[in-house]
């Protein structure tokens, strides 16, 4: 099978490649989302804990 034939998919190129393209796009998005939200969670919690620390220090002084 030549590379051209492979991409041509016997005339069904549009249907086959949009299926595969869409699938991998969606799977990638679903996979990347928790990676990005993990960074956000860590950032948010760190800010929250710092604020709490500051408040307890102010109360003590």
């Amino acid at each position: 099978m030549s590379l051209e034939e492979f991409f041509h998919m016997g005339g069904y190129a549009f249907y086959v490649w949009s299926s595969y393209g869409l699938t991998f796009f969606v799977l990638l998005m679903i996979f990347l989302k928790p990676m990005m939200s993990k960074k956000q969670v860590i950032k948010d919690l760190r800010t929250k804990y710092r604020q709490q620390e500051r408040q307890t220090k102010e109360q003590n002084s």
Binding site: Y12, P34, I42, Y49
Partner: protein
């Protein structure tokens, strides 16, 4: 019924967070390995179909997506039920983390089915029993996500979601048997039959490789999501503060 103490120990949020963190890379690499070999055998090694030509290659993503859409739903409903009965917080987390992944698989099953239906049936969509019940599954997922998002208190949200998910389980056998109970345009089962699967081994291998890859994909991403959720829900406990302090 009481659960043994060991179940509670292993389902403690902290224990889960650590264990899942160790598992995720292994699951992720296993997913990639199966995915690459599945794509190789499916797109390059497997011969063209004698009736459908090259278009049948959509099957290697369509069928695993459809299987996963039902599998993830069952995981969601069962863990929702466990959370409802035994009040295990981790079960609630697994249920709510599964929903977006399951919805994505359902959407993909419908979309790739549509892209396969157009050249083979001549229509993007038909209101046949299989397609309609799969569409209802998508609405069940979206309903679950919307319901949980609308309830502030996580315990109440988990409870309401679990009840919805459990009621929706009735749709799963309908999807599975729809092609036998009604005369559908959608073809009948070829792999999950009691006698020998009516699919050639050269096409069965990539199909199963992709199915395993999708299972690993789900395991990887549900654990990633659940870990984030656990951090948020347990944010006032000492161990989460330590985890955050140690994160670079």
């Amino acid at each position: 019924m009481k659960l043994p103490a060991i179940v509670h120990k292993f389902s403690s949020p902290q224990n889960f967070y650590v264990m899942a963190g160790k598992l995720i890379p292994w699951l992720g690499w296993a997913c990639l390995l199966f995915m690459i070999s599945g794509l190789y055998y499916g797109l390059i090694e497997a011969p063209a179909d004698y009736q459908q030509g090259e278009s049948y290659r959509i099957m290697f993503i369509h069928v695993p997506s459809a299987w996963m859409s039902m599998f993830v739903y069952m995981v969601m409903a069962i863990s929702g039920g466990i959370g409802l009965i035994w009040r295990i917080k981790l079960a609630d987390v697994v249920a709510s983390s599964s929903a977006p992944i399951g919805a994505a698989f359902t959407f993909l099953a419908l979309a790739t089915g549509s892209l396969w239906g157009k050249p083979m049936w001549g229509a993007w969509w038909v209101w046949d029993a299989r397609l309609t019940s799969e569409l209802i599954l998508l609405f069940l997922y979206l309903g679950f996500i919307a319901l949980q998002a609308s309830i502030e208190d996580p315990r109440n949200a988990a409870r309401a979601g679990a009840v919805l998910a459990l009621v929706g389980v009735v749709n799963i056998p309908i999807i599975h048997y729809s092609v036998e109970w009604w005369s559908t345009l959608h073809q009948g089962p070829t792999v999950t039959k009691f006698d020998k699967p009516s699919i050639h081994i050269s096409m069965l291998i990539p199909l199963l490789l992709m199915a395993v890859a999708f299972k690993f994909y789900y395991a990887t991403s549900v654990l990633m999501r659940a870990r984030n959720e656990v951090l948020l829900r347990e944010q006032n406990s000492r161990w989460v503060k330590e985890v955050i302090a140690n994160e670079s």
